[in-house]
């Protein structure tokens, strides 16, 4: 251990650490563009220049290692001057097109220009002209003029994703980024370069020009794309999710997220196939009805099929709370042991970085919440067999992607009564006798358990008719706060959907159950009492990053949270 002093604060650190690492570890912010805690050191932006006593010149904090007795000044006059000079250099060729740049509002360069720049330029000549709107790949656009050549994107693709696709070409002020000949930026993690780009040089083709960062609300959530369960933020404007971005969580996904999860995992929330309200089959035709009628119809029909003539297919897309109630509903109300989930595995689509074969976010959670067949005679195969043989006559399905299982769907054709508690229309809802519109992952509070045993909290970002966008209860943008009923942008599309857990709870009550829960937190409290693995846990205790169940604790990439250290 050595001792260094940064801005008058004495710090115990190790000689293997750089100054910037030591500073961040102790909550001291050093401005930087090219340095990123998860990437290799490049040292080409020069923004992190600091003054070190007894050194002839200012040094870059990102690649200078700590030495015992070092005295570092981040905010001394010399350091500030150096930073201002670097900012002036960087801004020489940076175009003044913030108004049309998507990064505006969340741009590191923009922020630094306010914090660390003098505000004017001595550069009278024309700015350099470079290529704009270059499609580096199917999902990422590149604007060469805005690029400050920090090489974060190049290093990410090479070092972390393992797909060397990008490189610098040319020299001096002509330097720009290109893909290697014959290649495109199309790796499954390509969109992470957009997040780490400190300027608006790399933008998302999907999100391009859709909304301003300040017009959206930002709700922390969990990606439902695969069993990894990456922490992410849901960006919502006018009650519509416009994009997902990864959120720092060193116990799950560090700073990253796969393109598929980012682009596809939320589409079903706003798809046209979304079921807007409950439906009931009357004389062979499905009619839209109110909740009371649909629930009463389902309950009265299910009452006649109790025992082992009924099966419940819970959903690995639903939260642990939903599955807990699905299990209780099956076992206590329907008194059946036929209870399981459908697997959704895409064999081979897995790597060491993030992707998992299991494309459900909560299979592990469903199991832990009680959706576990008591024996082989009651698992999914037995249910399909039972349906085929006509032994099982009624089925309650809450899996929104059940239609992807041809065998199951075919067996379902033999059932006499099908209740679907799902959010989107499919072959399943066409077959169903009662369709109860369920809310999606973005519309409810609950927990997801990933394949490693990380239990994370899921917060609602989109509101349904049940789920009003109250002040305080939701992340709210300025528009949400001040819209009146007369503003078109205040009249948001809302679905009449309820969480699967709530539906099971209501059905149970109609069928004589003595339990009912108003809030997911009540369910979790009950789960924490009944399920050994969850003992002692609360929503509050899950915090921002969740809790690792079991004895094996995750290793952290960094001894600090990068996004928590702020200027």
């Amino acid at each position: 251990m050595i001792t260094i002093t940064i801005d008058g604060k004495e710090i115990q650190t190790e000689p293997s650490k750089t100054i910037i690492e030591a500073a961040f570890e102790h909550g001291i912010y050093v401005p930087h563009f090219c340095w990123h805690p998860a990437l290799s050191i490049s040292g080409n932006c020069r923004m992190c220049l600091v003054e070190v006593e007894k050194m002839p010149k200012q040094v870059i904090a990102c690649s200078t290692r700590c030495m015992d007795g070092m005295v570092v000044h981040v905010n001394s006059e010399k350091a500030v001057q150096a930073r201002e000079a670097v900012m002036e250099f960087i801004l020489i060729n940076h175009p003044l097109d913030c108004p049309i740049c998507d990064e505006a509002g969340e741009c590191k360069l923009q922020d630094y220009a306010y914090h660390y720049s003098v505000g004017e330029s001595r550069f009278d000549e024309e700015k350099g002209l470079k290529r704009k709107r270059v499609a580096l790949g199917p999902r990422v656009l590149f604007d060469a003029e805005r690029c400050i050549s920090c090489s974060r994107c190049i290093r990410f693709c090479e070092d972390l994703a393992g797909y060397p696709e990008l490189t610098f070409v040319e020299r001096g002020d002509h330097v720009t980024i290109e893909t290697f000949p014959g290649r495109q930026l199309e790796n499954p993690y390509s969109m992470n370069v957009i997040d780490i780009c400190p300027v608006g040089a790399l933008t998302s083709r999907d999100f391009r020009f859709k909304a301003r960062a300040w017009d959206m609300s930002e709700t922390p959530g969990v990606c439902p794309g695969c069993a990894r369960g990456c922490s992410m933020d849901m960006w919502v404007r006018q009650n519509e999710i416009l994009r997902l971005t990864p959120r720092e969580n060193q116990e799950v996904n560090n700073f990253w997220m796969c393109d598929r999860g980012r682009l596809e995992s939320f589409r079903h929330v706003h798809e046209e196939t979304r079921i807007e309200q409950p439906m009931l089959r009357k004389d062979g035709v499905q009619l839209a009805v109110g909740w009371d009628e649909a629930l009463a119809a389902a309950a009265s029909e299910l009452r006649s099929w109790k025992g082992d003539t009924v099966a419940v297919i819970a959903s690995p897309y639903d939260t642990c709370e939903d599955n807990f109630l699905a299990a209780r509903f099956a076992r206590e109300i329907l008194t059946t042991q036929f209870l399981d989930i459908l697997p959704h595995v895409e064999a081979g689509d897995q790597d060491e970085f993030l992707l998992r074969e299991d494309k459900t976010p909560n299979s592990a959670g469903a199991r832990i919440a009680g959706v576990t067949p008591v024996d082989d005679a009651h698992n999914l195969d037995s249910i399909v067999e039972g349906l085929q043989s006509g032994k099982i006559k009624a089925v309650v399905v809450s899996d929104v992607r059940a239609h992807e299982h041809a065998g199951f769907m075919q067996a379902l054709g033999k059932a006499q009564f099908v209740v679907a508690i799902v959010s989107n229309a499919s072959a399943l809802t066409e077959r169903a006798d009662v369709v109860l519109s369920a809310s999606t992952f973005a519309e409810k509070l609950g927990t997801f358990l990933n394949f490693e045993g990380q239990l994370q909290l899921l917060r609602p970002a989109v509101n349904t008719t049940e789920n009003e966008r109250w002040m305080g209860a939701f992340a709210m943008s300025r528009l949400d706060k001040f819209a009146s009923e007369f503003d078109r942008w205040g009249r948001m599309k809302r679905y009449d959907a309820r969480s699967a857990g709530r539906v099971f709870s209501l059905l149970a009550q109609l069928m004589g159950g003595k339990w009912g829960y108003d809030h997911p937190e009540d369910i979790f409290e009950e789960m924490a009492k009944r399920i050994e693995a969850l003992h002692g846990l609360t929503y509050e205790g899950l915090g921002r990053w969740g809790v690792r169940l079991g004895s094996e604790q995750p290793g952290h990439l960094l001894p600090y949270k990068y996004s928590d250290v702020r200027p």
Binding site: C98, I100, F209, R212, W214, D215, L479, D487, R488
Partner: protein, 165 residues
């Protein structure tokens, strides 16, 4: 600190009588009666605002038929009354961004001119329009069709803005 006090004003004998003072006042009003009238008979005789006037905000349409606006959304952000809604989209023009939808709710608008001040493109300016009458709520929400005004028409205001930058 020096404190100055004002003695209570005491009326003279003639002032106490009131009548002479009232007669003085009546002389004044009689003179006023004969003076030129300041009234402007509005619908027939319209007022032409000076360039400094802040009327309804409008979007500047360039001579080539393209709006200046790049839909950056700053006007929408700065608007204290939340009167402006902008939805950006991509175009093939050199300025790659344009407002697919640009709406100003004239019932929300308070004509403060912040939008004009914040606009980096000088694309939204306060026009001399001051006559806005609606009979339905929807009519008060001006879309691009009503907002676009040619640069020639807005020349005095644009000139004014340049000279006072």
């Amino acid at each position: 600190m020096e404190v100055r006090t004002q003695d209570k004003y005491t009326l003279t004998f003639w002032e106490k009588l009131y009548i002479p003072e009232i007669l003085k006042g009546m002389k004044l009003t009689l003179e006023q009666m004969l003076k030129k009238k300041d009234t402007r008979e509005y619908p027939e005789e319209k007022w032409v605002p000076p360039p400094s006037y802040r009327g309804a905000p409008v979007l500047v349409l360039e001579r080539n038929g393209v709006e200046r606006c790049v839909a950056c959304g700053l006007c929408s952000r700065v608007c204290p009354a939340l009167a402006i809604e902008v939805q950006a989209a991509e175009t093939e023009h050199e300025k790659e961004r344009y407002p697919e939808l640009f709406e100003i709710n004239m019932l929300r608008c308070i004509f403060c001119g912040f939008c004009e001040e914040v606009c980096p493109e000088e694309a939204i300016v306060m026009s001399p329009t001051y006559e806005m009458v609606f009979t339905r709520y929807e009519d008060a929400i001006f879309g691009k069709d009503k907002l676009l005004m040619s640069a020639e028409e807005l020349a005095p205001r644009l000139e004014f803005l340049r000279s006072h930058r």
